[in-house]
């Protein structure tokens, strides 16, 4: 039985060459993402902003959004957002945080219920007061930083510091791009988004660690191979595994995206972007070449080759004790 081979054996693709392109692109994308965050902002959900969220289903046919909007705007509750949510009779109502502390939020809920009356079924009601929203936000941010920190320590423990730093830069870059994605697409940024970000962090590192493991093995075995060649070889050898794993995870996420329903839609979309698109790209084109810049592989024996010319062939003149420059 002939088995599926997505990646042929013994590929010898020169990945490291692209670092002159990939680094600037990534830097640019990161700056873009950060700018988007500050100017376009994230679509904070009520978990972090406080307020009311109601998912209602009209009992008699498709919802008349403009009529509902008019009714709710008349209640004097400030900013009211309505949008269709999946089916035509499903409406998502978002109302900003009411001044007056936690009790005021409850009053607002009562008003909305009275105003909408018996015309709707309440599928979901969420009310978050100012105290809890503040806490969730700080917990979320602290959580992200804590995770980054713990993983950094762990990697430092298992690999040399350059690997830890390289992995961290690559993966924080992942997070930054994902946040940019979330800003552009205006997906809800709530607690499940933090879950998505943390999972992307963990999974993307998963990927990076596999490549680093191979690099470490190669470093021990081939003491004379110049860094770009060694890194290329490592990536090429793990390419088959990477592609297959990315395909399986994508299949799983695709299933969630298509059939998982509206409730976790923003969560799975974010995961898809972070894990599949960005994670793959960074492990190969950022996390590996960055080791060159961090000086990994220098000082191995006395033969550290300088940067080989762009058409890397494996054999290059050796100059002793010369730090690899690019």
């Amino acid at each position: 039985m002939r088995l599926l081979r997505i990646v042929p054996d013994d590929t010898k693709f020169d990945f490291m060459r692209f670092r002159r392109i990939s680094f600037p692109i990534s830097a640019l994308a990161s700056i873009l993402a950060i700018t988007l965050y500050f100017f376009h902002g994230l679509n904070f959900g009520i978990d972090f902003k406080g307020g009311l969220l109601m998912e209602v289903q009209t009992k008699a046919g498709p919802a008349d959004l403009s009529k509902m909007r008019a009714t709710l705007n008349g209640l004097g509750l400030g900013e009211v957002q309505l949008q269709q949510f999946g089916a035509p009779d499903d409406v998502l109502i978002r109302i900003g945080e009411q001044p007056g502390g936690d009790a005021a939020q409850q009053v607002a809920v009562g008003k909305v219920r009275t105003a909408l009356g018996n015309d709707v079924d309440y599928r979901r009601v969420e009310v978050v007061g100012p105290r809890v929203s503040g806490e969730l936000l700080s917990y979320g941010v602290i959580g992200l930083m804590l995770a980054i920190f713990c993983i950094l320590i762990y990697l430092w423990f298992r690999f040399e510091w350059q690997f830890a730093l390289g992995a961290m830069i690559a993966n924080v870059h992942d997070l930054v791009l994902t946040i940019g994605f979330m800003s552009v697409t205006r997906v809800d940024f709530d607690l499940t988004s933090i879950a998505a970000l943390l999972t992307i962090l963990g999974y993307s590192l998963n990927d990076t660690v596999v490549i680093y493991d191979r690099i470490r093995e190669m470093l021990r075995r081939y003491r004379k191979m110049p860094m770009p060649d060694l890194l290329n070889a490592s990536v090429n050898q793990t390419l088959s595994r990477s592609v297959i794993t990315h395909v399986t995870v994508s299949l799983a996420l695709l299933s969630l995206l298509l059939f998982g329903g509206q409730a976790i839609h923003s969560f799975t979309a974010t995961m898809m972007f972070g894990v599949v698109l960005v994670g793959t790209y960074t492990s190969v084109f950022i996390a590996s070449p960055i080791l060159i810049y961090l000086g990994v592989g220098t000082g191995r024996d006395s033969l550290t080759a300088p940067e080989a010319p762009a058409k890397s062939s494996g054999k290059s003149p050796a100059k002793p004790d010369q730090k690899v420059k690019t």
Partner: protein, 533 residues
């Protein structure tokens, strides 16, 4: 790597089997499971987003607790100084302390001694640390008693415990499925009621402190007069419940009988007017006090005060010696019933504020379960097919390992009585994708070794040994992320962290043991000449 002693193999299979069996109670109808012994009944709990229900987070009003404590200290100071016949002036609550000045000529050090009797060590651990409930300082003739922070924290903690009991009684009256009521942090209470769709009534029941007092109405001055002029120091103006318009009453501050002495309260109907009323009964203590009050004050009105509002102010027509009576005054059947519930359950020691509420209707819950199931099946199917196509026979081995992996996840979740939420189901689907990764790492390594020229058995052996270290490393990073998420997350997000974390543990376990075992047996049985991947 491929050698397993019989014991080891048996242990692995047994462990996997037992953990998988733990998942069984989830798939059998509840009635059958209930007949099993307690230890076999552990199953996964469906989160509120799958079951439907209400999640309400309440916070104890610490300010009120502080105020009540200070007023209580002030009353104690008044009592102590009066009993000792020490003249004082300027007894007032200021900030966190009660201040009092000893009059000229009175014995200041004696006053200090008497007041020190109010100082008591706090219970438990705090007593060991030498903490008291009050700090007493004196400055010439000014004595200041400050309530210590540990005392307030302790009182808040007690309030939470008491409140939980009272909430339990109130919620049970709603006749719902077993609610979850537990403390969260130092001053918060979590109430989760599965199956409850409209929490409005629940919130009404939780929002009322339900402090009932019986006090005399001051007939010597009209309330309007008191509002315009000065209210006498022993009285206060309270307004009626309901309205508008709200009628003012001038009521004595002194509480004659309190709701704490009630033994029962029932809704009913007035025999003459057929209006809804609440009838109540006092315990012996309360009955005695009530009898005394009604005897001494025939013909005068007395106020029934609920949470500082006057429900009604009937005139005492005759002494009530039996210790029972009724409260009437613009009740509906529902509100009479609710008040009876509140009185029976008892008054909350401090007001509770709702700081977070999440309710999911059953429609959404059922939809979520359906979507969760569908996406899981489709995702699993796609992955299984892909593995078959890519790795053939070894793909079958990987699929078996992943299937057992998922069963073990459910087993562990059941053992822990963990909560399964919609993101949790997403976590399981994701774990399937990640679990496959472990097998892929092993297989790709084996293929490399074969290409490198090793014999089949050596290649398989080398593949396992080289890959396992990488599997451990890579999964630990995801585990750290899951652990952090568990710590900072709540509700559905925490459910995701739990399934992801457990999924990683089972993945590493199955990769290290089950996959190896299956391949080892295949090698032993088939003695292959080449590795078919």
């Amino acid at each position: 790597m491929l050698y397993f002693t019989r014991w080891k193999a048996a242990a692995i299979v047994l462990t996997a089997l037992i953990v998988c069996l733990c998942a069984v109670p989830n798939f059998i109808p509840a009635k059958t499971v209930d007949s099993w012994p307690k230890w076999a009944q552990r199953h996964v709990v469906l989160g509120l987003d799958l079951q439907g229900g209400s999640h309400i987070l309440l916070e104890v009003d610490t300010k009120t607790v502080r105020k009540d404590m200070l007023e209580s200290v002030r009353d104690d100071v008044r009592r102590v100084l009066r009993d000792a016949r020490i003249g004082y002036t300027g007894l007032v609550v200021r900030g966190n302390s009660v201040e009092v000045r000893v009059r000229e000529g009175a014995n200041s050090s004696q006053a200090l001694d008497k007041l020190r009797t109010l100082q008591q060590p706090l219970g438990g651990l705090l007593a060991a640390a030498g903490q008291n409930n009050l700090d007493i300082t004196s400055d010439a003739d000014l004595i200041r008693l400050t309530v210590t922070e540990p005392a307030i924290t302790e009182r808040v903690r007690q309030s939470v415990d008491q409140s939980i009991q009272i909430i339990e009684r109130r919620v049970n009256e709603l006749g719902t499925v077993e609610p979850l009521i537990q403390r969260e942090g130092t001053d918060r209470i979590l109430v989760q009621v599965p199956g409850l769709q409209d929490p409005t009534r629940l919130k009404q029941l939780l929002g009322k402190t339900a402090k009932l007092d019986f006090r005399m109405v001051d007939t010597q001055m009209a309330p309007e007069q008191a509002l315009q002029g000065r209210t006498p120091p022993d009285d206060e103006v309270l307004y009626s419940t309901g309205g508008p318009p709200k009628t003012p009453y001038l009521v004595e501050k002194r509480v004659l009988v309190s709701g704490a002495d009630l033994t029962d309260a029932q809704p009913g109907f007035d025999q003459r007017t057929n209006e809804p009323i609440v009838s109540f009964r006092f315990n012996t203590n309360g009955a005695r006090k009530f009898a005394q009050v009604t005897q001494e004050n025939v013909g005068k009105p007395f106020a029934i005060v609920l949470d500082n509002e006057v429900i009604s102010a009937p005139v005492i027509r005759e002494p009530i010696l039996g210790g029972s009576g009724q409260i009437s005054g613009s009740f509906t059947v529902q509100s009479a019933n609710d008040l009876a519930i509140l009185l029976r359950a008892g008054a909350l020691p401090a007001p509770l504020t709702i700081i977070e509420e999440r309710t999911v209707g059953p429609g959404l819950g059922a939809d979520s379960i359906a979507q969760g199931k569908l996406s899981s099946y489709v995702g699993a199917a796609m992955v299984i097919i892909f593995m078959l196509v890519t790795y053939g026979l070894f793909g079958i081995f990987a699929n078996i390992a992943v299937a057992i992996n998922v069963a073990m996840i459910f087993g562990l979740l059941s053992l822990l009585n963990a909560t399964l939420t919609l993101p949790g189901i997403a976590g399981i689907v994701l774990t399937v994708g990640i679990a496959v990764d472990s097998n892929v790492l092993i297989y790709e390594r084996i293929r490399e070794e074969v290409r490198g020229g090793r014999t089949p058995i050596n290649a398989i052996d080398a593949g396992f040994s080289r890959a396992l270290a990488t599997i451990l490393d890579s999964n630990i990073t995801t585990f750290i992320a899951a652990a952090v998420l568990f710590y900072i997350g709540t509700g559905p997000v925490r459910g995701f962290a739990v399934t992801l974390g457990i999924g990683i543990i089972t993945t590493v376990f199955t990769a290290f043991t089950l996959t190896r075992l299956i391949v080892a047996y295949w090698v032993w049985w088939r003695r292959p000449q080449r590795v078919p991947i």
